[in-house]
Amino acid sequence: MANIMHIQNNERFNRANIPHLGFDSFRKELLDLAAKGGQIVQFFAYEDQGTYKLLAVMRQINKLFVTGCNAPDNFESLTADSEKFHMFEREIGEQYGLKAEGHPWLKMVRYHKNYTGKKDVFGNDYSEDIPGKYPYFTVEGETVHEVAVGPVHAGIIEPGHFRFQCCGERVFHLEIQLGYQHRGVEKLLQTVPFKRLPIIAETIAGDTTIGHSLCQAQAIEALADLKVDEGASIVRTIALEMERIANHIGDLGALSLDVAFNPPAAYFGRIRGEYLNLSQILGGNRFGRGLVRPGGVTHVMGDEQKQLLRDKLAELTPEVEHVNDLIFSAPSVRGRFDGTGTVTYANAEKIGLVGYAGRACGLPYDARVTFPTECYGDLPANQNKKIDGDVCSRATVRREEIMHSTVLINTLLDRSEEAASYIPQEVELAPDSFVVSINEGWRGEVSHCLLTDAKGDILRYKVKDPSFHNWTGLALSLRDTGISDFPLCNKSFNLSYCGFDI
């Protein structure tokens, strides 16, 4: 058996077929792949009949690979050789008490007790109130000062703590500490009755409702051999694109508000609402809840809905173009966006940025193209040309994707297949199986990974939001940038706090 197995997105495998290596060869295999440009999709620990195991899913160009091993309590850190594993090893340490020796910054991710009852890797006593052992990377010197922001912020924003090491206005280093919204989603998904799974998946990150529920639905469909008809696929694809448009529009408005350019912010605020209303026409909920279920979609899209969507899109698209022109043609806005918060291609590759943040740095990865699901296989891809890695590039990618998504939706609306009505059914998951599901949510690669045990119950449910990769990108974008540009950089990434905290 090869050391690493080539798999497909949403393809079910018997767990026994996954290569099971010794830790050393596991480590070598992953590092080799990482050195060849491979990126991590999933890397986590799980418990199987009393032993702890590690499992890694990596992607390289357009291939997915999986491999596993038994987890030693203390293992040689992979981060020491490749930065890509940085957050994942911290998470493994936090969740299962398995320590990555030689990890350069082994600090807790979300501040919670590990699942195994092993000695805490970070030396925290969780009966004490926060803050426990919360070390921060510090820079020392006469002229260096530290600015701490959050976790309670002005305005409507989720909780997160940002620690800046500055010299005057210049930021040397930013460290981001999250975890304030840790709800134990992964544990919850393994324990709740089956029919509640989609409801929890929808709330992993409120703005990526479709992204997460689609991943879950596809994974369960693979495990339970459910077939989704073409019509339901169309509705799912439209819903995902609609979510993308609404969020991108909201972000562009917020970006222009952050540079004190008010009119587009007001216009886009209204237009975003219009797209949310379209989601309601499509699925009965403005935020896409209750639409995607394992086996299909709960709302059938009839001719009437199609016509409504078509008409409204035809009305909104010129408005969106017009407001975009307003933002991107204002010299003062360009002056703020250009060259602000740059993440170089090399750094982006090193930490494995995904989604628009990655594409703005020149990493072309788009899960819709690389690992197509639903209708994406035969739809055209978007190729962005502005790849400077700055705020302007991230804004431009959004602008292009809005237009691209509109084209996709219009193409799909012209297809005639109609979804069969959805009937909830008892499903049985295949025992001893493994599936990984990847979709391009609006923010980037969303991935769910499910392992089942001998009885067909969920043994391990692993959720990964794109924010898990990209928060490090935000920290890097602040290096050597003015601290006053932080809110702008933050908005240009617009990462999820609750998606990270799960």
């Binding site: 002005a154 007001a266 003062s332 806005v333 002056g335 703020r336 601290i483």
Partner: protein, 305 residues
Amino acid sequence: MESVLAFCFAVAIAPLLPAVIQKTKAYFAGKQGPPLLINYYTMIKLFKKGSVYSTSTSFVFKLGPVVGFSTSLMMLLYFPMAEVAPIFSFHGDVLILFYLMGLGRFFTILAALDTASPFEGMGAAREAFFSTLAEMTIFAILILFFKLTGSLSFYEFFSGDQAIDLMGEYSALLILVVVGLYVVMLTENSRVPVDDPATHLELTMIHEAMILDHSGPDLALIEMGAWFKLLFYSGFLARLIDPFHAENVIVNGLLFYAVVTFIYISIGVVESITARYKMPQVPKFILTPFILVFFVIILSMGVMQ
């Protein structure tokens, strides 16, 4: 009597005019905007509240708003609104006035530093730096006006034979001064593109960052001080560009405040069509009018000889 009435009117109308800016911005954003009397309501609300003081602050923190408010109020005492003689006027009052403003700022900065909050320290540093730069322009303008009128008093700048008048001998030069003063007004009153008075983002704030910890009546005093200051600057600007002159005091006053309102609207327009500059670009923006005014001084030397 007229002077006192003009002063009272200025104080009473100062909170109304900033609402004009908000209305203008709302118009550009396709919104309705707040009612014109919003600031009076805010004042009433704030004065009804109590103030919260951090245990780490001292009396300096409470002094900041009081000194800031009283110095701003004093500016209006010296300034001839609508061609009415001010309550106080003497040779050299302009110097006192701008240093009073400096005193107010000094105490606001002290109060900000007193909180030991990193935001306020940052805001104070920015405010101190930018207002120092803006001061150069102001004093260049005063030097020019002294040269033109031989006076160092606001009232005398705008009255007598040598009065400064946009229609007069130096009109071409004064246009540059107006531009310079407009930039100073935007800077000193923390308007876009230097600062953003509407933002909630502490890290980008300048003036707002310094007053984050003030609440209730203290905050009300700071707000009022800011409105007086804005009225003073736009009044100064209005006196330069006001083309109207009526014999009747009331008509003249109305015309004057119409020009002032026009200036407020123009601020709203500027804020709607430009984004804020990047922080490192702001000093260049503030220093540009100094160069303009300095150039004017050189030109005026040629004209005088």
